[in-house]
Symmetry: D2
Subunit: 319 residues, 4 copies
Amino acid sequence: MKVHIWGASGYAAAEAIRLLERHPAQLGVLESRSHAGERVGDHFPLLRRSPLQFDKESVIENARAGDVVVSAGGHGEAKELINALLDAKVRVIDLSSDFRLDDRAVYGLTEWNRAALASANLVANPGCYATAALLAMLPLARFGPPLQWIVDAKSGITGAGRNPSVGALYAEVTEEIRPYGLEGHRHEPEMQRALDVHGLSAPLLFTPHVVPLSRGLLADVYALYEKPPSEAHVRAAFEEAYACSPFIRLLETTKAPSTAAIARTNDVEIHAGMKGNAIRVLCAVDNLGKGAAGQAVQNLNVMLGYSEETGLHERAIVA
Amino acid sequence: MKVHIWGASGYAAAEAIRLLERHPAQLGVLESRSHAGERVGDHFPLLRRSPLQFDKESVIENARAGDVVVSAGGHGEAKELINALLDAKVRVIDLSSDFRLDDRAVYGLTEWNRAALASANLVANPGCYATAALLAMLPLARFGPPLQWIVDAKSGITGAGRNPSVGALYAEVTEEIRPYGLEGHRHEPEMQRALDVHGLSAPLLFTPHVVPLSRGLLADVYALYEKPPSEAHVRAAFEEAYACSPFIRLLETTKAPSTAAIARTNDVEIHAGMKGNAIRVLCAVDNLGKGAAGQAVQNLNVMLGYSEETGLHERAIVA
Amino acid sequence: MKVHIWGASGYAAAEAIRLLERHPAQLGVLESRSHAGERVGDHFPLLRRSPLQFDKESVIENARAGDVVVSAGGHGEAKELINALLDAKVRVIDLSSDFRLDDRAVYGLTEWNRAALASANLVANPGCYATAALLAMLPLARFGPPLQWIVDAKSGITGAGRNPSVGALYAEVTEEIRPYGLEGHRHEPEMQRALDVHGLSAPLLFTPHVVPLSRGLLADVYALYEKPPSEAHVRAAFEEAYACSPFIRLLETTKAPSTAAIARTNDVEIHAGMKGNAIRVLCAVDNLGKGAAGQAVQNLNVMLGYSEETGLHERAIVA
Amino acid sequence: MKVHIWGASGYAAAEAIRLLERHPAQLGVLESRSHAGERVGDHFPLLRRSPLQFDKESVIENARAGDVVVSAGGHGEAKELINALLDAKVRVIDLSSDFRLDDRAVYGLTEWNRAALASANLVANPGCYATAALLAMLPLARFGPPLQWIVDAKSGITGAGRNPSVGALYAEVTEEIRPYGLEGHRHEPEMQRALDVHGLSAPLLFTPHVVPLSRGLLADVYALYEKPPSEAHVRAAFEEAYACSPFIRLLETTKAPSTAAIARTNDVEIHAGMKGNAIRVLCAVDNLGKGAAGQAVQNLNVMLGYSEETGLHERAIVA
């Protein structure tokens, strides 16, 4: 059994390579159209020590039944490939938005879908915004839907990918706070669908922002109620929801999540509190970690029967 | 008539010096306990060309009746001084939070208080968070109070001042998004009081964040209604509120405010829109400009009978 | 007489627009292939208040004899256009490297070429690295050539232009110091030629670096001598060289240049000192200001008979 | 045998804690006067997962003969303590500059001093600037001293420590390149002494700069010769010098070091090349890694007989 990566030259793919290089599963083909034959360490400073190269061979010709492919290309690029892989009994974890609303796929928000993921053939890995927002929202299901959801989210720029665009240039990102998608954003139907599944359907107002950092995402979720639960009940809901989730850190009520504290990890920091009729939940993830490649590896672990934490914590080599 | 600056070694004071150096009013004493006798340009790169020095003399001994003092020290530092100045018929614009809840002071949110400011002896200059939030909220007064206010605000680090603290160090701010004040923040009663005055009393949930930039602040204001007004009415409310306000730019509904676009100015960019039962207003200011020294100069203009824009736009020297 | 800008959608062009908008010379056509018909303020935050648009008309069809064209496109893009403009008796200031080694052009390092610039038809505006390095080197001409020149220069990323490339992405620039051009750089022959002209021919070792800031460039110049001059003579050489140069600030020997102090200006900060047999001169410029558009306007002033500072300092509007 | 850390609340100390937590040696007391009794993870995001606390007990009362103390306080703070520890047969690795010129101490530039380090009682851990510069200079010993050394170094701001100062504030570091120590710098005698020891005495001109990044340091070393060696000989000198040094990466001649590639590691990237009569060597280290805590752990490994790489590479936990 091998794990292949397709579309292997973006930021999420590089993070997947970094994680899988330390993972007991065997790495297969790293397919990148643009960098075939080149060392991964020549393109990504964090991989400088890696002996790996982007392969000249293709995933489609090398993946065998039972293998897993992590598809990390741009939205819309891999639909045909993935269908062909599924036909060949290859399992797929897709990091794009292509299958997130598709009934054939299991939605890969690990903490909320472990059973289905274990036997999934196609996993739609959640977007980074949806990951942070839903981890903050779903524990509230026991209280029923609120009157209104508000999600105010702040993301580092690597969420925009490594395909160069004016908006991702250093000089455009630094000293700027950039709200966008004010008319609607790809992640909204993704969130809405998961809320529907969990009985949390309510109007959702979502405002994404780019802020000047490389990695990290904070979602501030506000849920308004006519008759809100008590803070103790809210707290209990989160504690129960994530009691067996090793990557989730529920913070004391006086403490706030820190993107620096979860950078380059699959960790999640959550503050859950109340004020008046509103519940406020703050949730920090690394947009390339738990928001993309980290969660993909976490899902891979569930799919392949590894412990959920396999390959996702670091320790030193003792020689 | 002279304009003096007290507590002249912080970031807001430096911005006030920069603006007043180009202003037709005569500059008086620049009092800084720590930098007396030193050139302002040695401490602030933006003032490098300035021939000014921090004075060895004191404001209290030099200010005369009819003069204006801009008080720019830390919260709580200048209360006694200001009382003494007022006794001496010196007019004061105070940038600290000391008088914002004090009935003797006129609240210096210029666009909403021009008449009272014209004859004010003591102006409580609004905080940067309150400035951005209230400019986004007050035009909604005609619709009555909402069910709930939510203010999610992101600020550059100069809002924390120039007095060195661990939290303001480069290495603590970079690659970090830092929510704070989750248990309550100095700016909340300031906002609440202005909302009360304008008939907009409603529960307020305020979340301030530090994001890694030097200057700039974005407030995302969400107002929830049972029966919200139409988007056209919302739009009209803002257009009428700010028709005669030269620093406010109402953006087209598809466009978002940019902190880079208002940095080092007294300008304000506002996006006002609706979604479902919620009004969403985004408002960007420079925390040292419209959020502090810029608004102080704007208030000074109103107090002294200058045009409101005097000294607040730049043009080139033609020799 | 009008001043037109060709290639008007890059960073240097935007800075030229910002400066020329405040300049008494009449602005003509702003030609941008990609942004024709759009507002300049929609593309550049610093121009947000500007009413100007990128024109749909072309420079070549509108420029008349005696007009000036500032050519701000990429290297190699405008050679034919410029030849056609010169044929039509239009004067040209070219910001690219295309004519810097061409005998037909006057090299636009203003402080060292005022007389020739006054009557120039074609000005090759110096590169940002060459500007900073040569301003630090040329005053040493009276001491004859050194044994060796070393130029270690650090630049903000806007020097790479606004055409998106992976290397200019935020995530590639932040937390990185990137030496480049180790095998040779476009700016070396440009510097070498100017050194030859001034009798300063000597081996030149040049190391450019990108550091994580938007605007600003520091060149550290080291000149090695067998028998070096005294520090007093070095100091005197700089004082005499720049006695009538309003943009050059010679710093006291204990002070170092600051890129923050010269950002968004045409100013230059220079530290000149000695240690053992080496002269060390540090020179800071804004790569888009004195290193590009600022110097272009300075040259325009000389060409058109304006005072050299016209349009290059800011003051406030007094209404 | 235990390893204790004194002065445990600075950036280098935090990095030492991070590394030693993964190291097979047993951690003893973490002494911090300011944070005693508090969790290390509350002060340092990178340590958020750590269960460790700053101790209320003192190093001096707990260290036993044969233990090692990593002293990580400010310069001058621990001299007395270290003398007392040495009297008690406790071995000390001192990160400050206090003993770098002291004949009792072994200079801890690991690659050049392994034999002496193995039995050292007091190790003076090199400064970050000296580490990068000397790793670039010492392989040239076989060619004899050059006519002149020039070291132009760029450092991230964590080199200034975590004790808050105006110069280390975010707003002072961002968008700035700051040369300093133009009249002389603490690191110069440290470098000069090591050069003397290796027969490389020559005039040294050193220019340190702060650039806006958190971690990372690049030293550009220029060595001028009357009759320089060939590039092949230079290359060979580096290959031989570092053939058995697992942290040193000699780059191909077309490639440049990257601070991003060595951040949070003990790795070193070196480019060595020639041009005319000058050798140019560029050397990148993490100022907190190989430039401080990483090298301290590397030295600890040598002192205690561990493999030199123990605890200094990361791999994933396989559960």
